[in-house]
């Protein structure tokens, strides 16, 4: 006989003047391993959240709801702080990313005479061959990488 699966589920009425939709979406993403979160917007001021837990283990509903709302508060606060400090954060992050992704020093190999480049390639092949020999390895029949 098929057993009806009992779902661990919580429904919350959320005031949208405290928690933005974006914060709730972020919270749902953080909770992805614990529960599937469904957001149903009733009107501009209210939404209903349904949390379907991924475990059938006994659930302390009040604690779970509070934990979810704490995370939602964290995400809301992060949105507020993010907007307030947006310009400064952008300056810092863009500086760091631009510095890190600079053009590397001019590739010496590209500028080399073909003969020098060929000699260096030969040196590297010889190095690889010597190390293989020392370790008793045979060269691979096909290259491990493209």
């Amino acid at each position: 006989m098929a057993m009806k699966k009992i779902k661990n589920e919580i429904r919350l009425n959320i005031p949208l003047d405290i928690y933005s939709e974006e914060a709730l979406t972020q919270t749902a993403a953080v909770w992805r391993k614990k529960a599937d979160v469904y957001i149903e917007k009733k009107n501009k001021k209210q939404a209903t959240l349904t949390l379907e837990f991924k475990t059938n283990a006994a659930l302390n509903r009040e604690v779970a709801a509070e934990e979810f709302l704490n995370e939602a508060l964290n995400q809301e606060y992060r949105q507020i702080v993010g907007r307030f400090n947006q310009k400064l954060t952008q300056l810092i992050v863009v500086q760091a990313l631009c510095s890190a992704s600079q053009t590397p020093p001019k590739d010496a190999a590209e500028a080399l005479e073909p003969m020098v480049a060929a000699e260096r390639a030969k040196e590297v092949d010889e190095l690889m061959r010597r190390i293989r020999e020392e370790s008793g390895e045979s060269a691979p029949k096909t290259a491990a990488l493209a």
């Binding site: 704490n70 992060r78 992050v93 500086q95 990313l97 510095s99 890190a100 992704s101 590397p104 590297v124």
Partner: protein, 515 residues
């Protein structure tokens, strides 16, 4: 009915005191952060300056009531706390020095995982190692070449290549190839390459040691403490004691360095990892490092990543427990220093470099933004490129969130512009973090995206309930308390004068270029 909001007590006890700052007074003060430290107040600012004030002075300060040209006013003015007297040129210079890493041209640290095989089964292993029979988990020479080619395509003029694993010496051919190929490339292209090996020493031989030392590969090992602590934490695969071999090779390298003369070779270094078992043996751990002639001990906390996450129930501990261990052990180290034994605690050195010298010590876990991908990149045995070694460890558990490319398929620009790189940078910039953005320790702190992803399912984390935050705030509290003790402060200042953080030495001594 709207749910009742019940805020969970934050893990970090900020003990903030509210005060009313009249708007007129507020206009005279430059932006600052504050925190109560028992009967005093710590104030800090984004330039990296700090002051510790008695309660009355703090009240006067916030009311802009400190007499002009008094010693206290002059001190606060010189540190950028008084709006009318800010020397922007000097303060900008302080900010740039403290945040010099923002202008570093790409990653300086490249961690190459030569194999996932290991002959030890450490209880807290982050690397999620496999047993020594699985040769398919070794990096091939072809992948090693592609990895070095990729590293040399990154823009930093100084490249630190660190061999990791598993146990990297299991894949000795790859060690030799990378050492010699990287040194050839460095000579051809006139760049600086610094090589280091992180090894458990159990596979070391005289021949391999001579090779590494002649090639100027610095060697770092794990030494968790005296034999009963080390062997408890770091058994061999299949059981057995590893401590004696570690000690043997530390002493052997010291012998060779001593015979060769100063600065011919790198002295060995060692790191300890604190487990629940270690918490009771701080004194014994320090004594052991001293007995081996080590100049530094790094009181490192355990992070719940990899094996450690699975074993946390038996080896983990709270931030409170770690802070108690840290303070007690640091007190013992300071007592030793006072009695003439100059052993340095490395975490303190890193944090004090930020606090007292307002310089970046190169400690990537406590940068804003963190060093993930921007300063440190990890290369897996199969050529995968990751935003830091912790990100690679997450991949071992099957989650590729922190993978930013492959050495055979992507360029450095593609890896640097990967969405994960940007997401980690944004998530770890403290200006965007609740609580951090108002914290007195913000000028000296940082958050780690992978740690928070593993513990709180989010790269941004939930800082008020984060054990990372809790632990670091407690350590900062301890250090700022000790800075008020003349004996402790004098010892700290001596450490800063006489010693450099290893990364500073790598980057500054070897001409790290800043633009």
């Amino acid at each position: 009915m709207a749910p009742t909001l019940k805020k969970t007590k934050p893990a970090c006890d900020t003990k903030l005191t509210t005060f009313v700052s009249p708007s007129a007074a507020g206009e005279k003060l430059a932006p600052f952060y504050f925190r109560r430290l028992e009967d005093k107040f710590l104030i800090t600012n984004d330039w990296g300056h700090h002051a510790i004030l008695r309660e009355k002075d703090f009240t006067d300060f916030t009311a802009a009531g400190i007499g002009k040209e008094t010693p206290l006013w002059n001190d606060l003015a010189s540190k950028g706390f008084i709006r009318e007297s800010m020397d922007f040129q000097a303060l900008s210079s302080d900010f740039i020095s403290k945040n010099a890493f923002l202008k570093y041209a790409g990653p300086s640290l490249h961690m190459i995982v030569l194999t996932l095989r290991c002959n030890q089964k450490c209880h807290y292993c982050h690397a999620s190692v496999v047993d020594p029979s699985q040769k398919s988990m070794d990096m091939t020479l072809e992948t090693a070449k592609k990895t070095v080619d990729f590293i040399f395509s990154t823009p930093n003029p100084v490249l630190c290549i660190e061999f990791q694993g598993g146990e990297p010496m299991i894949n000795w051919p790859a060690v030799k190839f990378i050492v010699e190929y990287a040194q050839k490339r460095a000579a051809w292209e006139k760049r600086k390459v610094i090589l280091s090996m992180v090894t458990n020493f159990t596979l070391m031989t005289e021949e391999k040691l001579r090779y590494l030392m002649e090639k100027r590969v610095s060697i770092c090992t794990s030494l968790d403490g005296p034999d009963f602590v080390h062997n408890q934490n770091r058994p061999f695969f299949g059981g057995g004691s590893s401590h004696d071999r570690v000690v043997h090779w530390i002493k052997r390298i010291q012998e060779i360095c001593s015979a060769a003369g100063e600065r011919t070779y790198y002295l060995p270094s060692a790191l300890m990892t604190t487990t629940r078992f270690s918490l009771s043996y701080g004194k014994e751990i320090v004594d052991h490092y001293v007995s081996l002639g080590m100049s530094q001990v790094f009181l490192r906390a355990l992070a719940p990543i990899g094996f450690a996450k699975r074993a946390w129930g038996s080896i983990g501990y709270s931030a409170e427990d770690f802070a108690a261990f840290y303070e007690k052990t640091l007190d013992y180290i300071l007592d030793l220093n006072e009695s003439g034994t100059p052993i340095v605690e490395r975490l303190s050195l890193v944090l004090l470099t930020k606090i007292l010298k307002r310089q970046d010590p190169g400690y990537m876990d406590l940068r804003s933004p963190s060093g993930a991908a921007l300063s440190a990149v990890a290369y897996n045995h199969d050529g995968g490129i990751f935003a830091g070694d912790e990100g690679r460890m997450v991949a071992q558990e099957g989650d590729l969130l922190f993978k930013i490319g492959h050495v055979a398929e992507h360029s450095w620009q593609e890896a640097a512009n990967h969405p994960t790189t940007a997401a980690c940078a944004v998530a770890s910039t403290l200006e965007g973090q609740p609580q951090c953005t108002q914290c007195a320790y913000k000028p000296y702190c940082g958050v780690e995206p992978v740690y928070h992803y593993e513990t709180q399912d989010s790269i941004s984390g939930n800082i008020p309930s984060s054990e990372w935050c809790n632990r670091h705030m407690k350590i900062f509290d301890i250090l700022f308390r000790k800075l008020q003790n003349p004996r402790d402060r004098a010892i700290f200042e001596k450490w800063l004068d006489q010693d450099k953080c290893m990364w500073q030495e790598s980057e500054q001594e070897h001409g790290h270029e800043k633009n």
